[in-house]
Protein backbone atom coordinates (compact mmCIF):
# COMPACT_ATOMS: atom_id res chain seq x y z
CA UNK A 1 0.00 0.00 0.00
CA UNK A 2 1.35 3.41 -0.96
CA UNK A 3 1.71 6.20 1.55
CA UNK A 4 0.30 9.73 1.20
CA UNK A 5 2.20 12.91 1.98
CA UNK A 6 1.10 16.52 2.17
CA UNK A 7 3.41 18.93 0.37
CA UNK A 8 2.79 22.47 -0.91
CA UNK A 9 -0.18 24.27 0.49
CA UNK A 10 -1.94 27.60 0.17
CA UNK A 11 -4.54 29.57 2.07
CA UNK A 12 -6.54 32.46 0.56
CA UNK A 13 -8.24 34.21 3.47
CA UNK A 14 -8.85 37.66 4.94
CA UNK A 15 -5.51 37.19 6.76
CA UNK A 16 -3.41 36.66 3.64
CA UNK A 17 -3.01 34.99 0.26
CA UNK A 18 -0.18 32.56 1.05
CA UNK A 19 0.38 29.97 3.75
CA UNK A 20 3.21 32.04 5.18
CA UNK A 21 1.16 35.23 5.37
CA UNK A 22 -1.63 33.34 7.12
CA UNK A 23 0.60 31.43 9.52
CA UNK A 24 2.56 34.55 10.48
CA UNK A 25 -0.63 36.60 10.96
CA UNK A 26 -2.11 33.97 13.27
CA UNK A 27 1.17 33.65 15.20
CA UNK A 28 0.93 37.43 15.69
CA UNK A 29 -2.57 36.96 17.09
CA UNK A 30 -4.44 38.64 14.20
CA UNK A 31 -8.15 37.92 13.96
CA UNK A 32 -10.03 37.98 10.65
CA UNK A 33 -13.51 38.75 11.97
CA UNK A 34 -14.96 42.26 11.81
CA UNK A 35 -18.42 43.75 11.70
CA UNK A 36 -19.85 43.70 8.16
CA UNK A 37 -23.34 44.60 7.01
CA UNK A 38 -25.27 42.24 4.73
CA UNK A 39 -28.70 43.39 3.55
CA UNK A 40 -29.02 45.81 6.44
CA UNK A 41 -28.00 43.32 9.15
CA UNK A 42 -24.62 43.57 10.86
CA UNK A 43 -22.70 40.35 11.45
CA UNK A 44 -19.32 39.63 13.00
CA UNK A 45 -17.77 37.77 10.09
CA UNK A 46 -14.47 37.24 8.24
CA UNK A 47 -14.58 38.27 4.60
CA UNK A 48 -12.04 38.96 1.86
CA UNK A 49 -12.20 42.45 0.45
CA UNK A 50 -13.58 42.32 -3.11
CA UNK A 51 -11.24 44.98 -4.47
CA UNK A 52 -8.16 43.26 -3.12
CA UNK A 53 -9.29 39.88 -4.45
CA UNK A 54 -9.82 41.33 -7.95
CA UNK A 55 -6.50 43.17 -7.93
CA UNK A 56 -4.52 40.09 -7.02
CA UNK A 57 -6.58 37.97 -9.41
CA UNK A 58 -5.83 40.26 -12.36
CA UNK A 59 -2.18 40.50 -11.44
CA UNK A 60 -1.77 36.72 -11.08
CA UNK A 61 -3.93 35.45 -13.93
CA UNK A 62 -4.39 38.37 -16.41
CA UNK A 63 -8.03 37.25 -16.63
CA UNK A 64 -11.21 39.34 -16.48
CA UNK A 65 -12.42 39.11 -12.87
CA UNK A 66 -16.02 39.71 -14.00
CA UNK A 67 -16.10 36.30 -15.64
CA UNK A 68 -15.51 34.46 -12.38
CA UNK A 69 -17.35 34.34 -9.08
CA UNK A 70 -15.69 35.29 -5.81
CA UNK A 71 -15.38 31.62 -4.88
CA UNK A 72 -13.85 30.68 -8.23
CA UNK A 73 -11.32 33.51 -8.01
CA UNK A 74 -10.28 32.41 -4.53
CA UNK A 75 -9.91 28.78 -5.66
CA UNK A 76 -7.95 29.66 -8.79
CA UNK A 77 -5.53 31.83 -6.81
CA UNK A 78 -5.14 29.11 -4.21
CA UNK A 79 -4.40 26.31 -6.68
CA UNK A 80 -2.15 28.56 -8.75
CA UNK A 81 0.05 29.20 -5.73
CA UNK A 82 0.33 25.48 -5.00
CA UNK A 83 1.18 24.66 -8.62
CA UNK A 84 3.71 27.52 -8.91
CA UNK A 85 5.74 25.86 -6.21
CA UNK A 86 5.60 22.34 -7.56
CA UNK A 87 6.55 20.45 -10.70
CA UNK A 88 3.53 18.16 -10.99
CA UNK A 89 1.91 17.59 -14.37
CA UNK A 90 -1.78 18.56 -14.18
CA UNK A 91 -2.37 16.97 -17.58
CA UNK A 92 -1.25 13.55 -16.37
CA UNK A 93 -3.88 10.84 -15.94
CA UNK A 94 -2.17 10.22 -12.60
CA UNK A 95 -3.11 13.69 -11.28
CA UNK A 96 -6.52 14.42 -9.74
CA UNK A 97 -8.26 17.57 -8.50
CA UNK A 98 -10.71 17.16 -5.60
CA UNK A 99 -12.96 20.12 -4.80
CA UNK A 100 -14.72 20.33 -1.46
CA UNK A 101 -17.38 22.88 -0.61
CA UNK A 102 -20.70 23.08 1.19
CA UNK A 103 -22.47 25.85 -0.74
CA UNK A 104 -20.20 26.72 -3.69
CA UNK A 105 -21.51 29.73 -5.64
CA UNK A 106 -24.62 30.05 -3.49
CA UNK A 107 -24.47 33.85 -3.85
CA UNK A 108 -25.72 33.40 -7.43
CA UNK A 109 -29.15 32.66 -5.93
CA UNK A 110 -29.11 36.07 -4.26
CA UNK A 111 -27.65 38.16 -7.03
CA UNK A 112 -29.97 38.01 -10.02
CA UNK A 113 -28.03 40.78 -11.75
CA UNK A 114 -24.84 38.76 -11.91
CA UNK A 115 -23.23 38.32 -15.32
CA UNK A 116 -22.24 34.79 -14.37
CA UNK A 117 -24.44 32.09 -15.94
CA UNK A 118 -26.85 30.62 -13.41
CA UNK A 119 -25.66 27.06 -14.08
CA UNK A 120 -22.53 27.87 -12.07
CA UNK A 121 -24.59 27.37 -8.93
CA UNK A 122 -24.14 23.64 -9.62
CA UNK A 123 -21.10 22.50 -7.67
CA UNK A 124 -19.75 20.32 -10.46
CA UNK A 125 -19.90 23.29 -12.86
CA UNK A 126 -17.87 25.39 -10.45
CA UNK A 127 -15.33 22.57 -10.16
CA UNK A 128 -15.18 22.22 -13.96
CA UNK A 129 -14.53 25.97 -14.42
CA UNK A 130 -11.67 25.84 -11.93
CA UNK A 131 -10.25 22.61 -13.37
CA UNK A 132 -10.47 23.92 -16.95
CA UNK A 133 -8.42 26.96 -15.99
CA UNK A 134 -5.48 24.72 -15.11
CA UNK A 135 -6.08 22.06 -17.78
CA UNK A 136 -6.50 19.00 -15.59
CA UNK A 137 -7.09 15.97 -17.82
CA UNK A 138 -9.12 14.02 -15.30
CA UNK A 139 -12.51 15.45 -14.51
CA UNK A 140 -12.67 16.86 -10.99
CA UNK A 141 -14.11 14.99 -8.04
CA UNK A 142 -16.54 17.03 -5.91
CA UNK A 143 -17.14 16.26 -2.24
CA UNK A 144 -19.95 18.05 -0.40
CA UNK A 145 -20.47 16.65 3.07
CA UNK A 146 -21.25 19.64 5.32
CA UNK A 147 -18.48 20.88 7.60
CA UNK A 148 -16.33 17.78 7.28
CA UNK A 149 -16.11 18.26 3.47
CA UNK A 150 -12.50 19.47 3.47
CA UNK A 151 -11.17 16.87 5.86
CA UNK A 152 -13.15 14.14 4.12
CA UNK A 153 -11.64 15.19 0.76
CA UNK A 154 -8.18 14.69 2.29
CA UNK A 155 -9.19 11.25 3.60
CA UNK A 156 -10.53 10.30 0.15
CA UNK A 157 -7.28 11.51 -1.45
CA UNK A 158 -5.27 9.36 0.94
CA UNK A 159 -7.34 6.28 0.07
CA UNK A 160 -6.96 6.85 -3.67
CA UNK A 161 -3.19 7.31 -3.34
CA UNK A 162 -2.85 4.28 -1.06
CA UNK A 163 -4.56 2.22 -3.76
CA UNK A 164 -2.04 3.54 -6.31
CA UNK A 165 -4.73 5.13 -8.52
CA UNK A 166 -2.91 8.49 -8.70
CA UNK A 167 0.51 10.01 -8.03
CA UNK A 168 -0.66 13.51 -7.13
CA UNK A 169 -3.93 14.91 -5.87
CA UNK A 170 -4.75 18.57 -5.32
CA UNK A 171 -7.42 19.05 -2.69
CA UNK A 172 -9.10 22.47 -2.52
CA UNK A 173 -11.67 23.39 0.10
CA UNK A 174 -13.60 26.62 -0.29
CA UNK A 175 -16.69 28.48 0.87
CA UNK A 176 -17.76 32.11 0.88
CA UNK A 177 -19.73 34.18 3.38
CA UNK A 178 -23.18 34.94 1.95
CA UNK A 179 -26.56 36.25 3.04
CA UNK A 180 -27.70 32.66 2.58
CA UNK A 181 -25.41 31.16 5.22
CA UNK A 182 -25.46 34.19 7.53
CA UNK A 183 -29.26 34.37 7.69
CA UNK A 184 -29.47 30.58 8.03
CA UNK A 185 -27.08 30.22 10.93
CA UNK A 186 -28.67 33.30 12.47
CA UNK A 187 -32.10 31.64 12.28
CA UNK A 188 -30.61 28.73 14.21
CA UNK A 189 -29.43 31.17 16.89
CA UNK A 190 -25.91 29.91 16.23
CA UNK A 191 -24.08 33.18 15.50
CA UNK A 192 -21.94 35.11 17.95
CA UNK A 193 -22.00 38.90 17.61
CA UNK A 194 -18.36 39.07 18.76
CA UNK A 195 -15.26 37.09 17.73
CA UNK A 196 -16.06 33.54 18.79
CA UNK A 197 -14.56 31.84 21.85
CA UNK A 198 -14.03 28.12 21.23
CA UNK A 199 -14.18 25.93 24.37
CA UNK A 200 -14.57 29.01 26.60
CA UNK A 201 -17.15 29.16 29.37
CA UNK A 202 -18.75 32.30 27.91
CA UNK A 203 -18.87 31.11 24.28
CA UNK A 204 -22.07 32.10 22.50
CA UNK A 205 -21.76 30.66 19.00
CA UNK A 206 -19.88 30.75 15.73
CA UNK A 207 -18.71 33.42 13.31
CA UNK A 208 -18.82 32.64 9.63
CA UNK A 209 -15.65 33.13 7.62
CA UNK A 210 -14.57 32.61 4.04
CA UNK A 211 -11.47 31.01 2.60
CA UNK A 212 -10.05 28.78 -0.08
CA UNK A 213 -7.29 26.43 0.96
CA UNK A 214 -5.40 23.93 -1.19
CA UNK A 215 -2.87 21.23 -0.57
CA UNK A 216 -0.89 18.92 -2.82
CA UNK A 217 -1.00 15.33 -1.61
CA UNK A 218 1.32 12.83 -3.27
CA UNK A 219 2.59 9.29 -2.96
CA UNK A 220 6.19 10.55 -2.89
CA UNK A 221 7.97 11.53 0.29
CA UNK A 222 9.91 14.74 -0.16
CA UNK A 223 11.65 17.07 2.21
CA UNK A 224 9.15 18.60 4.65
CA UNK A 225 6.43 16.15 3.57
CA UNK A 226 3.89 15.35 6.27
CA UNK A 227 2.42 11.87 6.16
CA UNK A 228 -1.32 11.18 6.41
CA UNK A 229 -1.08 8.20 8.73
CA UNK A 230 -4.78 7.44 8.98
CA UNK A 231 -8.16 9.02 8.40
CA UNK A 232 -11.75 8.09 8.99
CA UNK A 233 -15.33 9.35 9.11
CA UNK A 234 -18.36 8.23 11.11
CA UNK A 235 -21.97 9.26 11.66
CA UNK A 236 -23.61 9.98 15.02
CA UNK A 237 -26.96 8.54 13.87
CA UNK A 238 -28.49 10.92 16.38
CA UNK A 239 -29.68 14.28 15.02
CA UNK A 240 -29.30 16.16 11.72
CA UNK A 241 -28.26 19.48 13.25
CA UNK A 242 -27.47 18.80 16.91
CA UNK A 243 -24.17 17.20 17.96
CA UNK A 244 -24.41 13.87 19.76
CA UNK A 245 -24.50 14.20 23.57
CA UNK A 246 -22.13 11.27 23.86
CA UNK A 247 -19.76 12.29 21.06
CA UNK A 248 -20.48 8.92 19.47
CA UNK A 249 -19.44 9.56 15.87
CA UNK A 250 -16.32 11.53 16.72
CA UNK A 251 -15.32 8.89 19.30
CA UNK A 252 -15.69 6.20 16.65
CA UNK A 253 -13.42 8.20 14.32
CA UNK A 254 -10.81 8.57 17.04
CA UNK A 255 -10.86 4.83 17.72
CA UNK A 256 -10.30 4.10 14.05
CA UNK A 257 -7.62 6.75 13.51
CA UNK A 258 -5.48 6.24 16.62
CA UNK A 259 -4.84 2.62 15.72
CA UNK A 260 -1.77 1.96 17.79
CA UNK A 261 -3.26 3.76 20.77
CA UNK A 262 -0.50 6.30 20.71
CA UNK A 263 -1.71 9.73 21.68
CA UNK A 264 -0.90 12.58 19.25
CA UNK A 265 1.38 15.43 20.32
CA UNK A 266 -1.39 17.95 19.77
CA UNK A 267 -4.97 18.15 18.54
CA UNK A 268 -6.47 20.73 16.22
CA UNK A 269 -10.15 20.38 17.04
CA UNK A 270 -13.26 21.50 15.19
CA UNK A 271 -14.03 23.92 18.06
CA UNK A 272 -16.79 26.02 16.52
CA UNK A 273 -17.65 27.77 19.81
CA UNK A 274 -21.28 26.68 19.92
CA UNK A 275 -22.33 25.38 23.31
CA UNK A 276 -23.13 21.88 22.10
CA UNK A 277 -20.32 21.28 19.59
CA UNK A 278 -17.50 22.08 22.00
CA UNK A 279 -19.18 20.09 24.76
CA UNK A 280 -19.57 17.11 22.44
CA UNK A 281 -15.90 17.26 21.47
CA UNK A 282 -14.75 17.35 25.09
CA UNK A 283 -16.77 14.20 25.76
CA UNK A 284 -15.42 12.38 22.69
CA UNK A 285 -11.80 13.34 23.45
CA UNK A 286 -12.24 12.22 27.05
CA UNK A 287 -13.72 8.90 25.99
CA UNK A 288 -10.65 8.37 23.82
CA UNK A 289 -8.34 9.29 26.72
CA UNK A 290 -7.12 12.47 25.00
CA UNK A 291 -8.31 15.06 27.54
CA UNK A 292 -4.76 15.93 28.60
CA UNK A 293 -3.35 16.40 25.10
CA UNK A 294 -2.68 19.99 24.10
CA UNK A 295 -5.56 21.13 21.94
CA UNK A 296 -6.55 24.21 19.96
CA UNK A 297 -9.21 25.55 17.62
CA UNK A 298 -8.54 28.05 14.84
CA UNK A 299 -12.14 29.26 14.61
CA UNK A 300 -11.24 32.21 16.87
CA UNK A 301 -8.98 33.54 14.06
CA UNK A 302 -10.96 32.69 10.91
CA UNK A 303 -14.47 31.94 12.06
CA UNK A 304 -16.05 28.84 10.57
CA UNK A 305 -15.08 28.55 6.93
CA UNK A 306 -17.40 25.53 6.38
CA UNK A 307 -16.15 23.42 3.44
CA UNK A 308 -12.73 25.11 3.56
CA UNK A 309 -12.17 24.55 7.28
CA UNK A 310 -10.83 20.99 7.10
CA UNK A 311 -8.23 21.93 4.48
CA UNK A 312 -7.31 25.33 5.97
CA UNK A 313 -6.87 23.87 9.43
CA UNK A 314 -4.91 20.90 8.08
CA UNK A 315 -2.50 23.37 6.45
CA UNK A 316 -1.98 24.84 9.92
CA UNK A 317 -1.37 21.33 11.32
CA UNK A 318 1.32 20.74 8.68
CA UNK A 319 2.97 24.12 9.30
CA UNK A 320 2.77 23.57 13.04
CA UNK A 321 4.59 20.25 12.67
CA UNK A 322 7.17 21.74 10.29
CA UNK A 323 7.89 24.76 12.48
CA UNK A 324 7.40 22.97 15.80
CA UNK A 325 4.79 25.49 16.79
CA UNK A 326 1.51 25.14 18.62
CA UNK A 327 -0.94 27.98 18.02
CA UNK A 328 -2.89 29.49 20.91
CA UNK A 329 -6.61 28.78 20.87
CA UNK A 330 -7.64 32.40 20.72
CA UNK A 331 -10.83 33.42 22.51
CA UNK A 332 -10.34 30.82 25.23
CA UNK A 333 -10.08 32.05 28.81
CA UNK A 334 -11.96 29.75 31.17
CA UNK A 335 -12.76 26.03 31.00
CA UNK A 336 -16.25 25.78 29.57
CA UNK A 337 -16.93 22.11 28.92
CA UNK A 338 -18.05 19.44 31.37
CA UNK A 339 -14.76 17.63 30.73
CA UNK A 340 -11.72 19.87 31.26
CA UNK A 341 -9.47 20.01 28.22
CA UNK A 342 -5.83 21.04 27.93
CA UNK A 343 -6.42 24.12 25.74
CA UNK A 344 -3.35 25.89 24.28
CA UNK A 345 -3.45 29.37 25.81
CA UNK A 346 -0.31 30.74 24.19
CA UNK A 347 1.46 30.23 20.89
CA UNK A 348 4.66 28.41 21.72
CA UNK A 349 7.50 26.39 20.27
CA UNK A 350 7.14 22.73 21.00
CA UNK A 351 8.69 19.78 19.20
CA UNK A 352 5.84 17.74 17.75
CA UNK A 353 5.81 14.62 15.61
CA UNK A 354 2.09 13.89 15.29
CA UNK A 355 -1.06 15.96 15.14
CA UNK A 356 -4.70 14.90 15.20
CA UNK A 357 -7.20 16.95 13.17
CA UNK A 358 -10.94 16.53 13.70
CA UNK A 359 -14.15 17.95 12.23
CA UNK A 360 -17.88 17.48 12.73
CA UNK A 361 -20.90 18.71 10.83
CA UNK A 362 -24.61 18.75 10.13
CA UNK A 363 -26.08 15.47 9.07
CA UNK A 364 -24.30 13.94 12.10
CA UNK A 365 -21.01 13.53 10.25
CA UNK A 366 -17.56 13.46 11.88
CA UNK A 367 -14.03 12.98 10.57
CA UNK A 368 -10.53 12.65 11.97
CA UNK A 369 -7.06 12.48 10.44
CA UNK A 370 -3.68 11.74 12.01
CA UNK A 371 -0.72 13.65 10.52
CA UNK A 372 2.92 12.74 11.13
CA UNK A 373 6.16 14.59 10.45
CA UNK A 374 8.72 12.05 9.24
Amino acid sequence: MNKAFLHNANIISPLGFTTKQNFDAVCDGKIAMQNHTFNGVTYCTAIIENKLLDEVFIQQTKLNPKEFTRLEKMCILSIKDVLNNSDIDVKSKRTLFIFSTTKGNIDLLENTKSEIPEERVYLHKTAEIIAAHFGFTNKPMVVSNACISGLLAIIIAKRLLADNQYDNIIVTGADIVSTFTLSGFNSLGALSSNPCKPFDKSRTGINLGEAAASVLISNQQKEDGVEIVSGSSANDANHISGPSRTGEGLYKCLQKVLVHNTAPDFINAHGTATEFNDEMESIAFNRAGLQNILINSLKGYYGHTLGAAGVLESVFCIEGLRQNKIIASTGFEKQGTSIELNIATKTENKKSITCLKTASGFGGCNAAVLYKMN
Binding site: K103, Y122, V143, A146, D163, N235, A237, N238
Partner: protein, 203 residues
Protein backbone atom coordinates in the same frame (compact mmCIF):
# COMPACT_ATOMS: atom_id res chain seq x y z
CA UNK B 1 -12.97 -11.98 -1.78
CA UNK B 2 -15.57 -10.56 -4.13
CA UNK B 3 -18.21 -8.06 -3.16
CA UNK B 4 -21.81 -8.32 -4.26
CA UNK B 5 -24.83 -6.12 -4.73
CA UNK B 6 -27.10 -7.73 -2.16
CA UNK B 7 -30.16 -5.56 -2.60
CA UNK B 8 -31.31 -2.46 -4.47
CA UNK B 9 -34.22 -0.06 -4.72
CA UNK B 10 -35.36 2.41 -7.32
CA UNK B 11 -37.85 5.26 -7.34
CA UNK B 12 -38.78 6.49 -10.78
CA UNK B 13 -41.99 7.46 -12.60
CA UNK B 14 -44.11 7.29 -9.44
CA UNK B 15 -43.03 3.70 -8.77
CA UNK B 16 -40.93 2.20 -6.00
CA UNK B 17 -39.07 -0.97 -6.93
CA UNK B 18 -37.15 -3.32 -4.67
CA UNK B 19 -34.99 -5.99 -6.34
CA UNK B 20 -37.11 -5.92 -9.50
CA UNK B 21 -40.34 -6.19 -7.53
CA UNK B 22 -42.86 -3.35 -7.70
CA UNK B 23 -43.48 -2.31 -4.09
CA UNK B 24 -45.65 0.74 -4.62
CA UNK B 25 -47.18 2.59 -7.54
CA UNK B 26 -48.94 5.89 -7.11
CA UNK B 27 -51.21 7.45 -9.70
CA UNK B 28 -51.04 11.09 -10.85
CA UNK B 29 -50.16 13.15 -7.78
CA UNK B 30 -48.27 16.25 -6.72
CA UNK B 31 -47.31 14.48 -3.56
CA UNK B 32 -45.71 11.29 -4.74
CA UNK B 33 -43.20 10.89 -1.90
CA UNK B 34 -45.78 11.37 0.84
CA UNK B 35 -48.28 9.11 -0.90
CA UNK B 36 -45.61 6.42 -1.18
CA UNK B 37 -44.78 6.82 2.51
CA UNK B 38 -48.43 6.27 3.38
CA UNK B 39 -48.67 3.21 1.15
CA UNK B 40 -45.74 1.66 3.05
CA UNK B 41 -47.20 2.19 6.54
CA UNK B 42 -43.89 3.39 7.95
CA UNK B 43 -45.19 5.14 11.11
CA UNK B 44 -42.33 7.65 11.15
CA UNK B 45 -43.96 11.10 11.56
CA UNK B 46 -40.57 12.82 11.25
CA UNK B 47 -40.80 11.94 7.57
CA UNK B 48 -43.13 14.90 6.96
CA UNK B 49 -40.58 17.36 8.30
CA UNK B 50 -37.92 16.28 5.83
CA UNK B 51 -37.14 17.94 2.53
CA UNK B 52 -37.84 16.04 -0.68
CA UNK B 53 -34.26 14.77 -1.04
CA UNK B 54 -34.32 13.23 2.43
CA UNK B 55 -37.77 11.77 1.83
CA UNK B 56 -36.52 10.15 -1.37
CA UNK B 57 -33.46 8.69 0.36
CA UNK B 58 -35.37 7.42 3.38
CA UNK B 59 -37.98 5.69 1.19
CA UNK B 60 -35.29 4.01 -0.94
CA UNK B 61 -33.22 2.96 2.08
CA UNK B 62 -36.15 1.50 4.00
CA UNK B 63 -36.60 -1.53 1.75
CA UNK B 64 -32.92 -2.39 1.80
CA UNK B 65 -32.08 -1.83 5.45
CA UNK B 66 -35.05 -3.62 6.96
CA UNK B 67 -34.16 -6.84 5.15
CA UNK B 68 -33.34 -9.44 7.78
CA UNK B 69 -29.92 -10.50 6.48
CA UNK B 70 -28.83 -6.86 6.32
CA UNK B 71 -30.37 -5.77 9.62
CA UNK B 72 -28.02 -8.07 11.51
CA UNK B 73 -24.80 -6.51 10.21
CA UNK B 74 -22.78 -4.38 12.69
CA UNK B 75 -24.10 -0.83 12.19
CA UNK B 76 -20.72 0.84 12.73
CA UNK B 77 -19.35 -1.10 9.78
CA UNK B 78 -21.96 0.05 7.27
CA UNK B 79 -20.87 3.04 5.15
CA UNK B 80 -23.19 5.38 3.23
CA UNK B 81 -21.89 6.78 -0.09
CA UNK B 82 -24.33 8.94 -2.00
CA UNK B 83 -24.24 11.20 -5.04
CA UNK B 84 -26.32 13.53 -7.17
CA UNK B 85 -26.10 16.49 -9.51
CA UNK B 86 -28.14 19.14 -7.69
CA UNK B 87 -26.77 18.92 -4.18
CA UNK B 88 -29.66 20.36 -2.12
CA UNK B 89 -30.55 23.01 -4.72
CA UNK B 90 -34.33 22.61 -4.57
CA UNK B 91 -34.32 23.25 -0.81
CA UNK B 92 -31.69 25.99 -1.23
CA UNK B 93 -34.08 27.86 -3.53
CA UNK B 94 -36.98 27.35 -1.10
CA UNK B 95 -34.88 28.62 1.80
CA UNK B 96 -33.59 31.60 -0.20
CA UNK B 97 -37.21 32.71 -0.71
CA UNK B 98 -37.65 32.97 3.07
CA UNK B 99 -34.30 34.47 3.97
CA UNK B 100 -35.06 38.13 3.43
CA UNK B 101 -38.19 38.20 5.57
CA UNK B 102 -38.43 35.30 7.96
CA UNK B 103 -35.57 32.86 7.40
CA UNK B 104 -36.83 29.37 8.11
CA UNK B 105 -34.54 27.31 10.37
CA UNK B 106 -36.26 24.06 9.45
CA UNK B 107 -35.60 24.71 5.75
CA UNK B 108 -32.04 25.88 6.34
CA UNK B 109 -30.98 22.67 8.10
CA UNK B 110 -31.83 20.75 4.92
CA UNK B 111 -29.67 22.93 2.65
CA UNK B 112 -26.84 20.37 2.55
CA UNK B 113 -26.81 17.24 0.37
CA UNK B 114 -25.63 14.94 3.16
CA UNK B 115 -28.59 15.62 5.45
CA UNK B 116 -30.28 12.68 3.74
CA UNK B 117 -27.28 10.57 4.81
CA UNK B 118 -27.96 11.69 8.38
CA UNK B 119 -31.68 10.91 8.12
CA UNK B 120 -30.98 7.40 6.85
CA UNK B 121 -28.30 6.91 9.54
CA UNK B 122 -30.69 8.06 12.29
CA UNK B 123 -33.55 5.86 11.18
CA UNK B 124 -31.40 2.73 10.95
CA UNK B 125 -28.70 3.57 13.56
CA UNK B 126 -25.93 3.34 10.98
CA UNK B 127 -22.66 4.89 12.20
CA UNK B 128 -20.09 3.93 9.55
CA UNK B 129 -18.20 6.00 6.96
CA UNK B 130 -19.96 8.75 4.96
CA UNK B 131 -19.31 10.52 1.68
CA UNK B 132 -21.45 12.63 -0.64
CA UNK B 133 -20.21 13.23 -4.19
CA UNK B 134 -21.58 15.73 -6.70
CA UNK B 135 -21.50 14.51 -10.30
CA UNK B 136 -23.09 15.89 -13.50
CA UNK B 137 -24.66 12.48 -14.20
CA UNK B 138 -24.92 9.09 -12.53
CA UNK B 139 -21.35 7.82 -12.23
CA UNK B 140 -21.11 4.08 -11.60
CA UNK B 141 -17.31 4.09 -11.89
CA UNK B 142 -16.88 6.60 -9.07
CA UNK B 143 -19.34 4.85 -6.76
CA UNK B 144 -17.85 1.43 -7.51
CA UNK B 145 -14.29 2.61 -7.02
CA UNK B 146 -14.82 4.37 -3.71
CA UNK B 147 -17.05 1.59 -2.38
CA UNK B 148 -14.36 -1.00 -3.10
CA UNK B 149 -11.83 1.14 -1.22
CA UNK B 150 -14.18 1.42 1.76
CA UNK B 151 -14.83 -2.32 1.79
CA UNK B 152 -11.20 -2.85 2.78
CA UNK B 153 -12.34 -1.67 6.23
CA UNK B 154 -16.15 -1.61 6.17
CA UNK B 155 -18.44 -4.66 6.06
CA UNK B 156 -20.94 -3.15 3.67
CA UNK B 157 -21.80 0.07 1.83
CA UNK B 158 -25.16 1.61 1.03
CA UNK B 159 -24.57 3.55 -2.18
CA UNK B 160 -26.45 5.35 -4.86
CA UNK B 161 -27.87 8.37 -6.58
CA UNK B 162 -30.61 10.58 -5.15
CA UNK B 163 -31.73 13.36 -7.42
CA UNK B 164 -34.64 15.73 -7.00
CA UNK B 165 -35.68 18.75 -9.02
CA UNK B 166 -39.01 20.41 -9.87
CA UNK B 167 -39.76 17.89 -12.57
CA UNK B 168 -38.10 14.64 -11.68
CA UNK B 169 -37.56 12.37 -8.76
CA UNK B 170 -34.83 9.84 -9.42
CA UNK B 171 -33.64 7.58 -6.65
CA UNK B 172 -31.45 4.49 -6.87
CA UNK B 173 -29.84 2.90 -3.84
CA UNK B 174 -28.01 -0.40 -3.66
CA UNK B 175 -26.29 -2.32 -0.93
CA UNK B 176 -22.86 -3.83 -1.45
CA UNK B 177 -21.48 -6.45 0.89
CA UNK B 178 -19.92 -9.83 1.20
CA UNK B 179 -21.37 -13.27 0.94
CA UNK B 180 -22.20 -14.56 4.42
CA UNK B 181 -23.87 -17.63 5.88
CA UNK B 182 -27.01 -15.72 6.71
CA UNK B 183 -27.51 -14.24 3.26
CA UNK B 184 -26.16 -16.86 0.90
CA UNK B 185 -29.37 -18.84 0.48
CA UNK B 186 -31.66 -15.89 0.03
CA UNK B 187 -30.00 -13.57 -2.34
CA UNK B 188 -29.55 -13.52 -6.04
CA UNK B 189 -25.91 -12.45 -6.09
CA UNK B 190 -24.95 -9.74 -8.52
CA UNK B 191 -21.24 -9.05 -8.79
CA UNK B 192 -20.24 -5.55 -7.73
CA UNK B 193 -18.87 -3.92 -10.87
CA UNK B 194 -19.65 -0.74 -12.85
CA UNK B 195 -21.44 -2.61 -15.65
CA UNK B 196 -23.87 -4.27 -13.27
CA UNK B 197 -24.45 -1.05 -11.34
CA UNK B 198 -25.20 0.86 -14.55
CA UNK B 199 -27.50 -1.88 -15.74
CA UNK B 200 -29.50 -1.88 -12.51
CA UNK B 201 -29.78 1.91 -12.65
CA UNK B 202 -30.87 2.20 -16.26
CA UNK B 203 -33.14 -0.86 -16.43
Amino acid sequence: MSNYILSYTKIKNNCLWHNDKLVSKIGETDNFLEETYKSLDLAYPKFFKMDALSKLGVLCAEQILTDESIRLLPKEKIAVVLSNKNSSLQTDVAYAKTMRDFPSPSLFVYTLPNIVTGEIAIKHKITGENAFFIEPTFNADLLHNYTELLLQESEAVLCGWLSIDEKTCDGFLYFVGKQTESNQKKINFIKHNPTNITQLYTN
